[in-house]
Subunit: 594 residues, 2 copies
Amino acid sequence: MDQSLTGRELSHGCCSYSTLKAWLPILSWLPQYKLKYLQMDLLAGLTVGMTTVPQALAYAEVAGLPVQYGLYSAFMGGFIYTFLGTSKDVTLGPTAIMSLLCFSVVGGQPHRAVLLSLLCGLIQAVMALLRLGFLLDFVSYPVIKGFTCAAAVTIGFGQVKNILGIQGVPQQFFLEVYYTFYKIPEARVGDVVLGLLCLTLLIILMFMKSSLGSDSAPTCTRAARKLVWAVATMRNALVVIAASLVAFSWEAYGHHVFTITGRTTQGLPPFRPPPTSDTIANGTVVSFGEIVEGFGGGLAVIPFMGLLESIAIAKAFASQNDYRIDANQELLAIGVTNIMGSFVSAYPITGSFGRTAVNSQTGVCTPAGGIITSVIVLLSLAFLMPAFYYIPKASLAAVIICAVAPMVDYHVVVKMWKIYKLDLLPFAVTFLMSFWEVQYGIIGGVAVSGVLLLYRMARPQIKISDHGALLMELNSGLSFPATEYLSHVMHTQALQVSPPRSVVLDCHHVSIIDYTVISELRDLLRQFNLREVQLVFSRLQPSVLKVLLAADLQGLRFTNSVEEALQMELGNLFTDYNQTRQIPVQSCRSNTDE
Amino acid sequence: MDQSLTGRELSHGCCSYSTLKAWLPILSWLPQYKLKYLQMDLLAGLTVGMTTVPQALAYAEVAGLPVQYGLYSAFMGGFIYTFLGTSKDVTLGPTAIMSLLCFSVVGGQPHRAVLLSLLCGLIQAVMALLRLGFLLDFVSYPVIKGFTCAAAVTIGFGQVKNILGIQGVPQQFFLEVYYTFYKIPEARVGDVVLGLLCLTLLIILMFMKSSLGSDSAPTCTRAARKLVWAVATMRNALVVIAASLVAFSWEAYGHHVFTITGRTTQGLPPFRPPPTSDTIANGTVVSFGEIVEGFGGGLAVIPFMGLLESIAIAKAFASQNDYRIDANQELLAIGVTNIMGSFVSAYPITGSFGRTAVNSQTGVCTPAGGIITSVIVLLSLAFLMPAFYYIPKASLAAVIICAVAPMVDYHVVVKMWKIYKLDLLPFAVTFLMSFWEVQYGIIGGVAVSGVLLLYRMARPQIKISDHGALLMELNSGLSFPATEYLSHVMHTQALQVSPPRSVVLDCHHVSIIDYTVISELRDLLRQFNLREVQLVFSRLQPSVLKVLLAADLQGLRFTNSVEEALQMELGNLFTDYNQTRQIPVQSCRSNTDE
């Protein structure tokens, strides 16, 4: 997002109305708001709300927090994003990946999760003000795909223990896999039956919805289609409600066959500053500094991942619905939401893919739909908490598994293999490292793809052909990491063979040349001179030629075309210079005794 | 240093004699050794020895260690390098920069310095076996220059207090500057006079030597020239001996007017494994783990800097004397020297620029000269230590200042300004950060130049011209960090203007295309299609075209020349496709409900 080209800041003063509109996008759409929009926004907000409540409860489970924290985190985004967001579709709130990251950083301690939200928000807001959204350019698709696949597997498998109703399984992925299988004999029949039923129902409804999308069912009447659509869209809420009713009935008769959510704190969260210290079990007070130190690298990864996830979603829907988003403004919206969220006991949030898709498909017209969603969440907090007592954990697990399953996209591996095999390396590194510690995956993947980029720079392809003189064609630019390699090729192919060969270097693709390259070229020219052979540069871009001339290289020769250069080499070496423009050879200064 | 091209491993089995010769370069030159070589090697070894002894004493001072540690570190290199080195000129031993780095990591504690040498050697040996010498490619000249300039200033200024004979000056650079000036009134007259005299003498001798290099003195007889050359070359030893005699005379009469070296441990160092724990002043034992933890980032920086310094020197003299070195083999030689050195109480060493220059100029023929130098150091340790008692610290300070002064090369700033201004940024970052903490400079500089490289990738130059359709010429390759920028330019220039414009993208300089770029292109093609304008690729390289075809992009159009593409755009849009090869547009799959 190089803003310099959009003219956003260029053409207007820093305090003009258009600048204000850029910072508060609501000013752009609110004046044109229509009653028709309100109808659509209301419907979309309601529909998304019905998905948000069960998902928020379930994701709190992933974050290792009491379920009400999911709802605490789910309402601030709708209000803030209405004012600050640049996409009509994006829905902010707790997500599976952020919950997993939050768990891996704070280990399920509510006070710290809330403090993390504050710090994460502050970092994101500062990044937005410094316009650091461009950092996302360095995260390639293979890294994103590798990360989401691994996160989906981690999150999905993490819920298997809830479907089985087993306790005391550790959270580290490999131990979790081991203990989940080890403890299968302890599985509770009630949970297994209910969990599998919920899963089956959710999968059927999901497929019903996707088959609705095509026009292959012309026999359905419009009303029937709408009903199916509504049921399928609210499937999460319906399944959880149904499961809770079943659980309630059994509990009412005194049969404790399901693992249920149990007692939760009722009512709205208090509005208060996030805690800056924490008291652990044995009464020791952990100071702010110690808590922050405990967050460690999480303070870099969580804000960045929040940005990444949200922007990836916003861009996908912007492209589909044909509008543009502003990455830095989106970052600001997430940052402010996290800051304000920390005052109402929220943990870090970001854009949710599933709920954004529901929002878009329901036909939301403006970000105002988020306000309706938030109101529903608040109403649930205020009045429905006693009912949440009976929600079976297995039903929430089913909701999560169905939400993350589509993120495992194995087709992408085939595509990468077909298109650019080297991209499989950052993908694999990200995927595998994510199982070790989820945030390491993204760091490792970005590092590997950066190294591959730099390595490609350090080892440019040089096509060598023999035309009397050697013709070396550089297939890409020439920057400092490539100097050593270029020199190595020149020495092994031309200078250290017997007799030494002249070289024509085709610099057609070189657009920038730096001081290190110049120094190496100076040395190479000296070596060619010593052996009485020539190094001729051909097809130099004007800007590069200018630099070579400014560098005052001794014995620099260049031609406009490769043919001209080869002709010269094949002709009278060292006699017929009128075809080339030559820089006079200056007296050789010796710098040996420095 | 991509070894794959040298055929070193390719054309020979892993245990053949040529492989053995590659690992033990002595096998290449020893069979051809001649008596004439021996004469030259003896002379060079002696001459270098006369420089090594005073410099080793002085550099130990820089490292904050007792002076004998300088000599302990100065003899192992000569023996090892004779067997393992690939350059006839390079002289391994303590250097100013390594001493400074060593001080900044271990703070002048001998036991830890020796342990650091062991670890540093192990890391270098492993790097050599993994053939990691190519890492040096990522250190650009501006970074090297910035670092050496800053190190020279730090080291040189650090000796001013010894010239002034003042005590109790802290070692942190800025505090050092402040306290050195603050304490000027405490300066000792004897030290100042002697220090300035030594400095003057050394500078005069240095200029005498450099004027000898030119042929502007035809009146000198050959013998006189030789005498001047010998005196000038051994100036360090002569000045230190003279100063010591002066100090001895005054001390003998009971006048303590000079700060002298004082009592040192006599004799050869014991051969024993380096200490793996340390006992500090109050008797507490510091464990191996704690010591290593204390080294921190130094364990990465010191081995790397040792490699960097030595290779830079080896390459400079290889180029001058027309032979090739092998970076990985050099790294192995330094690593083994550091490992073995730690058994004789040495601190980390590397190649010394000044002594290598003396070695080369004296006409050394093989690395065997190093053995003679080492013998001289050993003899000094065995017999001369009592005499070292009287060496005035001011004279050693003068030796150091004269050794590092030529490293401050301000011309390089002018050259960078002329050739490639952006290189001044890593130079300045390296230079300034080095004053904060010397190893941060090199890390900061490498990071900044890496970021600049990546940034250049992320923001390729796109030349836009209007020919009816927009012609966009990419000035360099197209890799994943550039996708967002390309998309931004396409949107602002062609898609979001009214009416939308068709674009011809000149991909002539694009040699590799990755999965992320393909994904973005797929999206862009969809956007162009939606707006009923075209995106035509022109002048694709065959490999890139193959990838685009493999990716099965909907609506992909491409032409061989820009003119063809523009003609098509200007002609009948959407009717006359026979000039282009078009991929059939497939049915659009929707992936929205994932």
